[in-house]
């Protein structure tokens, strides 16, 4: 399997002495949809900055499709596109000009650039806005414009730094569909996000970064399998007896109020067995929901482990 990106012992210390990266190493395979997760200031954007050459690394190496970004500057840059966290195009230029200019930077002849520009602006629902100045676009449109711009040279690797931050749910879902389509067509995608649900939905592999260190680097499936307990919030139509005891070894209960309780079910125990206990004591369940996003729970436990 071809490695799309290989990062070895990457370290970055800023001029003010802040160590943003403390020797991280990770590899992303070609075709992967990879999530880089971490809290604010963990080092995600610095990692992307080093890959995209906007941040000078202190030590370590980065290879894109087997070529070192320091020694094969131009070849490696042709291979990736970057969608930054903050809007970084001129607010005074027209939508089409922004994408066409980007195509020009990558040496695309004008005719091909115009075709690609139309293709990606249409795919991202911006074609009707092509002659408008970018400052008139909504926040979501600006993000889509940055994705269209990053794709115009059709890179093999697309790096997205929190692409759906501040985007409404509907638009986020449509961006997920688009990114999945791009990934299915063969483009490797690396995504940083705060939305853990986003990573869970889209990504096959994941690395969690905290305080400049990789604290987990595995497949999403393996990571989720690590979860051996789930917490449910149950609302009841009947009153919950204050002395209610589930009498189950792998389940615990905490009463929140007389019609609401929190039940923790550990691995191996079926929810049906818990419900059977409620039937026995005559408690009718009105509704049930997961207390937390499963990945969020894991994510927090990984970060706690790093403290």
């Amino acid at each position: 399997m071809t490695i799309a990106i290989s990062i070895q012992n990457l370290a970055k210390t800023y001029a003010n002495g802040f160590e943003a990266l403390k020797g991280i190493s990770l590899e992303v395979e070609q075709g992967d949809f990879f999530a880089l997760l971490g809290p604010n200031g963990a080092g995600k954007s610095t990692t992307i900055g080093v890959i995209s050459t906007l941040v000078n690394k202190t030590s370590g190496s980065v290879e894109v499709f087997g070529k070192n970004v320091d020694t094969h500057v131009y070849e490696t840059k042709l291979d990736f596109g970057v969608v930054p966290q903050e809007v970084n195009f001129s607010q005074f230029e027209k939508v089409r000009d922004i994408v066409m200019t980007q195509a020009g930077y990558y040496g695309l002849p004008r005719k091909l650039a115009a075709e690609r520009c139309e293709k990606y602006l249409r795919k991202l629902g911006l074609w009707e806005k092509r002659d408008e100045r970018s400052r008139s676009l909504s926040g979501g449109m600006k993000r889509r414009l940055m994705i269209a711009r990053a794709l115009v040279h059709e890179p093999r690797l697309l790096i997205l730094d929190e692409p759906t931050a501040g985007v409404d749910i509907e638009l986020r879902r449509s961006m997920w569909e688009f990114l999945t389509e791009i990934n299915n067509s063969g483009t490797t995608i690396i995504l940083t996000t705060h939305y853990l649900e986003e990573a869970e939905q889209l990504c096959r592999n994941i690395a969690i970064i905290d305080e400049g260190r990789i604290v987990e680097n595995t497949s999403m499936r393996k990571l989720l399998n690590e979860l051996d307990s789930q917490v449910y919030i149950l609302e009841t139509t009947s009153q919950i007896p204050p002395d209610l005891d589930l009498k189950l070894e792998k389940a615990s209960l905490e009463i929140i109020d007389e019609h609401c309780m929190e039940v923790t079910v550990s691995g191996g125990l079926s929810v049906n067995e818990v419900f059977a206990v409620f039937s026995e004591v005559g408690i009718k369940i009105d509704s049930m929901r997961n207390k937390t996003n499963r990945l969020e729970q894991l994510f927090l436990s990984k970060l706690e482990g790093n403290d």
């Binding site: 809007v87 000009d97 200019t101």
Partner: protein
């Protein structure tokens, strides 16, 4: 990056720069034309009539080359410094830095963009000067060469200013406190023959003095400086500034953290 790709990238930057100052022509092309027009009317016409001759020419004829050169210098500089700093300020420079465009192409693109504005304003001013003086170019080659080289020098200087600038104040300090005094003391309005020896020597340390006088030589056929020496100085400045810009870009000064 293949050479045709580099050319497309270069062309893209130049077109973008020209489109930028063309889009805001009321800020970029009209004000310098009005300012220089006022110089023609006030200094050349009204005051100039009382001054009489300067360096063997009518005062209006004497100041026209200097004023054309002044507009070229100011606009070549300000186009690059304002455009490049705006790209930094809006972070749109990241589009370029992430792309495979080599540094020398980035630099050349901005320089040619600055030259385009400098020469556009220079042309407007030259056309306006025809209403005030009968210009007969004595040496077309020297006239064109010196204006091109001067435009390159100040576009490069503007680029360095923009690299180091962190605020909009930083891009107005150099033009206000360095460039304008150097231009005004560079023999635009007077011949250094009028100055006492000490100030004549000081004028010789001002590079703009050589540029203005060489341009004046191309148009009027008279100069306070040695033309060969002036071209040498221009070329030395271009080499030093171009190399400095490339080194700063390579290091990422003001651009990469």
């Amino acid at each position: 990056m293949f050479s045709n790709h580099k050319y497309i990238a270069f062309e893209t930057i130049v077109i973008r720069e020209i489109r930028r100052f063309g889009r805001i022509w009321l800020q970029t092309l009209v004000p310098p034309a009005i300012t220089i027009g006022l110089y023609f009317v006030i200094f050349g016409n009204l005051v100039g009539r009382r001054i009489g001759e300067m360096g063997g020419f009518q005062y209006m004829e004497f100041i026209v080359p200097g004023l054309i050169m002044m507009s070229v210098i100011q606009n070549s500089y300000s186009n690059v410094v304002s455009s490049f700093f705006s790209h930094k300020f809006q972070h749109s420079i990241e589009e370029l830095l992430v792309s495979p465009v080599p540094n020398y192409i980035i630099l050349s693109g901005f320089i040619v963009g600055g030259m385009a504005r400098g020469l556009a304003v220079g042309t407007i001013v030259t056309l306006m000067s025809l209403f005030f003086a009968d210009l007969e170019i004595q040496n077309l080659f020297i006239t064109i060469t010196v204006v091109l080289l001067t435009s390159i020098v100040f576009a490069l200087a503007g680029f360095i200013n923009a690299l180091f600038a962190n605020t909009f104040d930083d891009i107005s300090i150099i033009p206000t406190f360095v460039l304008t005094p150097l231009i005004y003391l560079g023999g635009v309005f007077y011949s250094v023959e009028l100055l006492p020896p000490f100030w004549k020597f000081v004028s010789g340390l001002n590079p703009i003095f050589y540029m203005v006088n060489t341009f004046r030589y191309g148009i009027l056929g008279t100069s306070d400086v040695n033309i060969v020496w002036a071209f040498f100085i221009l070329c030395v400045f271009i080499v030093i500034l171009f190399t400095s810009c490339l080194l700063l870009l390579r290091k990422g000064t003001g651009l990469r953290s």
